[in-house]
C-alpha cells in the first residue's frame, strides 16, 4: 500500500535521485516506490527515514479524519532578524513557498482507529522543525482544544530546537507549551509524546519529554545539547549509541520504541487503556 500521495514531498534525510532513494544509514539504493511503500523505512537495514508532517498524519490517523486547525498561523519576524546569510523575513517566504507549510507544526484533530484525538505533528523541513512563536502557539492551541473537548493529545516532535531568529520569543515557547501540557495533567487527560528523528534542544526540554507515555522510533536522535558542544565541554569521546532512542530508553526517558509500521496501532492500544479508566469507575 503506497500511502504517500504527494511524491514531491521532500525527504530531508535521504538523498533523492530520479528513481532511487539512497538510505543514509546503510547507503543501499532502494527503488523510490519500494521506499515509500515501506513508509520510508529502509527495507535493507530498517533505518527509519524522516517523514513530512503530512506523511506522519497519514500514517497515524484514519483516512480523511484529519481536520486542521489554525492553519493560517505563520512566522512574522518579530525581531527583524538579519544574519550573515540574509533576512529571516525572506527565508520565511522562501520556506513557505518551498514546503507548502506555514509553520513547523501542523495541528488539528482526527481519529485513530475511530478514537478521536487532538494532534500536533512537527515538520523538520520548516526551519529544522524549530520552535517559533507560531509553532508554540499552535501546539498550545491544540492542547487547549484537547482540554476543551476532553481529548487525548498526541504530539509528534521533529525539531532541532529553538528558533534563534525569533530570539527570546522562541525560548518562551518552552514555558508556553508546557503550560498547556500542565493544564491537561490537571484535567487528567492523556498526552502521548512521539519523539522522532531528531528531537533536540528546546523541544526535547519542553513538551516532547513530558508525555504520560514517551515513545520513539528506532535510531531516532534525541538530545538536549548537541554532540559537538558536549565533546568540546568534556573533552572526551561519547558512547556510540549516545542520544539515540535506544540510549534514551536505557536511561529511562522513553517508555517504548515502536516500529513505524506498528505506531498507529500501538498508540491506539495505549489509548484503549485511557478510555477504560475513563469509563470504568468514579
Amino acid at each position: 500500500m503506497p500511502w504517500f500521495s504527494r511524491s514531491k514531498d521532500k525527504m530531508p534525510a535521504e538523498k533523492k535521485e530520479d528513481i532511487w532513494v539512497r538510505c543514509s544509514a546503510c547507503n543501499a539504493h532502494v527503488y523510490k516506490e519500494e521506499w515509500f511503500a515501506n513508509l520510508s523505512v529502509c527495507p535493507k537495514c530498517g533505518y527509519h527515514g524522516r517523514l513530512t508532517c503530512d506523511q506522519r498524519l497519514e500514517l497515524l490517523l484514519d483516512p480523511g479524519s484529519f481536520t486542521e486547525l489554525n492553519a493560517s498561523i505563520c512566522p512574522n519576524d518579530p525581531l527583524n532578524f538579519v544574519d550573515g546569510k540574509g533576512r529571516y523575513a525572506e527565508k520565511i517566504s522562501a520556506t513557505i513557498e518551498e514546503t507548502g507549510l506555514r509553520e513547523s507544526v501542523k495541528t488539528g484533530y482526527g481519529k485513530i482507529n475511530a478514537m478521536p484525538v487532538a494532534v500536533a505533528v512537527m515538520d523538520f523541513r520548516f526551519f529544522g522543525g524549530s520552535l517559533g512563536s507560531g509553532t508554540g502557539e499552535k501546539i498550545l492551541r491544540a492542547a487547549n482544544y484537547a482540554y476543551d473537548f476532553d481529548l487525548p493529545y498526541i504530539i509528534v516532535s521533529a525539531s532541532g530546537g529553538a528558533r534563534m531568529q525569533e530570539g527570546m520569543y522562541s525560548l518562551m515557547q518552552m514555558a508556553k507549551t508546557c503550560a498547556g501540557i500542565a493544564r491537561l495533567n490537571e484535567k487528567k487527560l492523556p498526552y502521548i509524546s512521539v519523539l522522532t528523528d531528531p528531537t533536540a534542544g528546546g523541544v526535547s526540554a519542553s513538551y516532547a519529554m513530558m508525555g504520560d507515555v514517551n515513545m520513539s522510533e528506532p535510531g531516532a536522535l534525541i538530545a538536549f545539547a548537541g554532540r559537538r558542544v558536549i565533546e568540546q565541554t568534556i573533552k572526551q569521546k561519547l558512547p556510540k549509541n549516545f542520544q539515540t532512542a535506544e540510549y534514551l530508553l536505557e536511561h529511562g526517558f522513553l517508555d517504548l520504541i515502536v516500529l513505524r509500521h506498528e505506531m498507529k496501532d500501538r498508540i491506539h492500544q495505549i489509548l484503549t487503556y485511557y478510555r477504560a479508566g475513563r469509563t470504568f469507575r468514579n
Binding site: 505563520c74 512566522p75 538536549f224
Partner: protein, 315 residues
Amino acid sequence: MDLEFEKTIIDIESKIAELQKLSAENKLDLSVQIRELKKRAQAYKERVYDGLTAWQRLQVARHPQRPVLQDFISMMFSGFVELHGDRGIADDRALIGGFATLGDYRVVLVGHNKGKTAEENAERNFGMAKPEGYRKALRLFKLAEKWNLPIITFIDTAGAYPGLEAEERGQAEAIAHNLTEMARIQVPIVTLVSGEGGSGGAIGIGVGDVVLMLTNAVYSVISPEGCASILWRDAEHAPEAAEALKITAKSLLEMGVIDEIVTEPAGGAHRDPTQTAEEVRKALQKHLAVLCAKSVPVLLEERFRKYSGMGRFDS
C-alpha cells in the same frame, strides 16, 4: 577584568582616588576638584552605560565582579537556610536554594550559584546546573507550595551544563518537568534575571508570575557566540548576533518578555553592589506584595495567560 568601554571611567575613578590620597596625605582641601571629577565620572558613566551595545552589556553581565547570588543573599536576605539535594542522586552546587527572609516576606529562594574565584567556580561549575540541580529546584518549589511560601528565583547562568552525565540523567527531562510544574505551582513566583540568562538553563527556573531584569543583565535563547557560529558560520560575529537576538533588558521589556527593569547604578552592578541589591530588594518586595494579594485561581489563570501570550506570529 577591565572592559574596554570602561577605560575612561576607570581613569577618572583612579584620578579621584589620587586626589583623595593627595588631599589626605597633605591635608589639602581638594573637595571642589574631587566633587567636580565625581560629577564628571557620574555623567560619563551614565552616558557610556546608556549607550552600551547588547554585546557590551553581555560583558557587563559576565563581569567577574558582578554580584552573584551569594552576594545578594548576604546583602538582601536574612535567615537563609540552605536546603540541599534532589533526593535522588546529588546536591548540585551550581544551583542552590533554601528558606530566606526579605523584609516581611519569608520565601523559598532558588538561584544559579556562580562563583567569583576560580575555586568557587570549580565547585559551582560556573553556575551551570545539571539535572540534579533542576530537580532540587523543583523539590524546593514543591516545598514552597506545601508550606505556602512565595518563591523567588535568581537567574544567572551561561546555560544548563552540556556534559555526558547531564545528558545521561536527563537534562531535557529535568528542565521540561520544571516548566510544566512551575506553570501550576500554587504560590507566587518572582524571577529576577540578575546576570546571564542562558537559554533552557535559565528558563528552567524562570517561569515567574513576574520576571524582572537588571539593566545590564541579558537573557537569550542561545549564546551570541553559538548563534554566530551557526548563522554566521563564525563566532567572531557574536556582537552582531547579540544585537540581532535582542538580549538586553530594554529590548525584552519592549517585547513583553519581561515585566520590569530593575535599575542598576550607572557604571554597572559591579561598581555598586549595595545600591544594586537595594534596588532589587525594593522591586521584589513591591511585586511580592501585589502577587501575595491574589487568590490562587487568579494567580494561576494570570500566569497561564501571561505565558499563553508569549510570541509574535501572523495569521
